[in-house]
Amino acid sequence: MVNATRTASSNPIGSVLVVGGGIAGVQAALDLADTGYFVHLIEKTSAIGGAMSMLDKTFPTDDCAM
């Protein structure tokens, strides 16, 4: 298993690259932008939304995925 330790730089860059514009990437990007970081969100296709945008409804509430 991994054993990564955080080695915080004292002078880091205040921006983050988020790879993937599905629901996870979008949420990560929003949280970071809302906490004061510049976000580069990159997505392979022409629109964000990922797999969730293809779903009709979502369990267990039957809310519309869109």
Binding site: M1, V2, N3, A4, T5, R6, T7, A8, S10, N11, P12, I13, G14, S15, V16, L17, V18, V19, G20, G22, I23, A24, G25, V26, Q27, A28, A29, D31, L32, A33, D34, T35, G36, Y37, F38, H40, T45, S46, A47, I48, G49, G50, A51, M52, S53, M54, L55, D56, K57, T58, F59, P60, T61, D62, D63, M66
Partner: protein, 906 residues
Amino acid sequence: MDKCIACGTCAEKCPRKVTDEYNAGLGKRKAAYVKFPQAVPLKYVIDKDHCIYFEKGKCRACEKFCPTQAVNFDDQDREFTLEVGSVILAPGFEPFDPGVYDTYSYSHPNVITSMEFERILSSSGPFEGHLVRPSDHQEPKKIAWLQCVGSRDIHHCDNGYCSGVCCMYAIKEAAIAKEHAGADLNTAIFFMDMRTPGKDFDKYYERAKAEKGVRFIRSRVHSIEPLPGTDDLAIQYVTEDGRITEEVFNLVVLSVGLQISKDTLELAEKLGVEIGDGRFAATSPFQPVQTSRTGIYVCGVFQSPKDIPLSVMEASAAAAESATLLAPARNSLTRKPPELSEKDVAAQEPRVGVFVCHCGVNIAGVVDVEAVADYAETLPGVAYVERNLFTCAQDTQDKMKQIIEEHNLNRIVVAACSPRTHEALFQETLKQAGLNKYLFEMANIRNQGSWVHMNEPEAATEKAKDLVRMAVAKVALQQPLGEMQLGVTKSALVVGGGIAGMTAALTLADQGYPVTLVERKDVLGGHGRKLYSTWDGQPVAPFLDELIKRVEAHPEITVLTKARITDVQGFVGNFHTVLDVDGQRREVDHGVAVIAVGAHSLKPDEYGYGKSDRIFLNLDLDQAIGERDERIVTARSAVFIQCVGSREPDRPYCSRVCCSHSIENALRLKKLNPDMDVYVLYRDIRTFGLRENLYKEARARGVLFIRFDLENKPVVQVASDGTLKVTVKDHVLQRPVVLTPDILTLAGAIVMRESEADELAKMFKVPVNAEGFFLEAHAKLRPVDFATDGVFVAGLAHYPKPTEECIAQAKAAASRAATVLAKDSITAGGVVAVVNKDLCCGCQGCVQCCPFGAIDYLEREGKCEVNQALCKGCGTCAATCPSEAITLLGFSHLQLYAQIDEALSA
């Protein structure tokens, strides 16, 4: 891209049809296309691989017809170099391609994947939401779902894991299909174990069975055979009692699993990120979103197979990790919009400007827009009218700003499309022109006019006039709405000192926010103290000790033990909480709160629990194994009983962790003594995700699994000499099996002590569900937020879950909390409700119906009051108030009555 106004002309004119990947290959799109109607960004693109111009050097129809010259054939791929402080990987999954199952006839048009079925159900799908099968577009009468296609399978593919979502989505698809086609639709789900271990999932499953009549057949189907002479398919399967049966279906859906794409694996390799089991990113349960490379985090399915809420949770957790790593650089690269001044027009007579949009031919092709514009000029208060080909186009916005200034307009109506998509854009233009953004109204003459009445142009035109008249009447009564800024106390209160609470506290403190951590007991650690190891065998104690040490030593964390909350006042950014700390009163100001109070393990009142020292709960067994207890070391036979107190009528939920926990312990016993007979009596084995490996290993090591039904639960007898007898009806043998284990372990439920949670819930104005677990704002998209702003939830208090999910959720709660603490002020006001206290009779109907806990009843005055910082402007209270004492600003009764009067005046 800036020029595209998404009018769709390019797609309309494009002569090339291409298979539409958004519709899972079931429909066609053009080579000039937008991925889906709600796409963000809403911009059309040209598919270079299929465009006729790129193939043959001519066509350019899109370019010719584009009204805004937005088509650029010379556009090239460009390379960017970005300097970033951290990277978050959220590349997602690819649905498994079932073509490799040579006996499933996937090439047959009526054998489809679950993703294809999603598109068939969707109103934006290939059949516009009509449930028909691909071959002949006939409505199916009988549909089958086959589970575990590309999951729990190392024969056809290398996906030994459980994808964790297919059981639930299949139930959903079957239930929704019945909603589309009517109750007569015959739906059957063929499955091995029904895995519905998430919050409210089991209830959904039971409802599908009992109320919707979805059939659940426990059988692994070997093959799907096309029925000659028809478009139907025959499925042969073995029933539970061993009979071979055949059924014919009109449509078969393969519930395909989730897998990591080759592209993602290549990306991981490039980034030096280690790949683990099942080709998911390697992580540890104690650092669930940390990859093998410092500064690179992972979330979503690439971390391990999971559903939407867990993905969202991990996304926030990954954001928290990044934010912690980069805390010294916060706000160093973000930009703030310039502040704009606003003209005071409150006392002015209305001078309404009306902009009528053609939306290309979308509106003007049906509605006589010229007549609508002429009519608007006759309406009272209207000072200016014009028509635009596309009102939303950037050049029109620039022009609108100019016109507002030139003509001294103080109210604006745009007669175009939906405020849902375009209101913010126009409001921004109003702000640029120095107008209060609320002095604005949209008349939706497209969606509610030209689109729904496309065959009745005259009626559509009349309706457009009505809508414009109503909008003008409403906006004329609109007053500028103020927004105010409220300060934020930049500190947090975390309630509960278990793994979740401590993780949340550390995550916030590491970002520089002071945290008060409140624990009811005299020590930190919570449930974690009783845990022996994580599901993959890593010891919990060293991790917990380290966590406690870090929390206690952290300069930004104040730990209060033997502490309990007695009162909470205030709201997001400005809470004031009173505590009882070992008999002493203490007060804390904080901007946010995280509720992580944990849950309890059930003390069973069945299966002889308490009648023998050889009957354990899993947590006690952990300890006994750890201590090499005599009872364990000498045991030659062990039995586990699953679902003790879970999935029962009065506790209708799955406790999520017990299957893995029992199997872990079963394996530990086998390791201790390979000759020990170990039986697991279960209802469904729910080793979701990579935990499936445990189940596989247990079977390989000879652990025996016997399934039982709720109707035929095992019977435990404790003889006077202390010997145990367990009787269970074996499903395969169809007869009772008698076991005489030396030790019996009960997989007890995880429960909330409701009174405790209720008290806290009331103080923080947050809800709990029927089982006493705290209820998040949205099951999918806001899994750690409450509807009440500034309060968040993490850990077992939300729902039973394993350690790594508690940690991810705690980090997520901290991330969400940090979005509040990062602000210097919060904006309140705008479209909010206000109570006219002179009219308020204090009935508290509004307090009851407010979903955001934004309304207080002031005991002293006997009146209600809306907290503007919490109000979301939904208007429920205004509609509920029997004496019209509540006004929703921007939607006052006066305005709504004026609109209604105008609607009826035609």
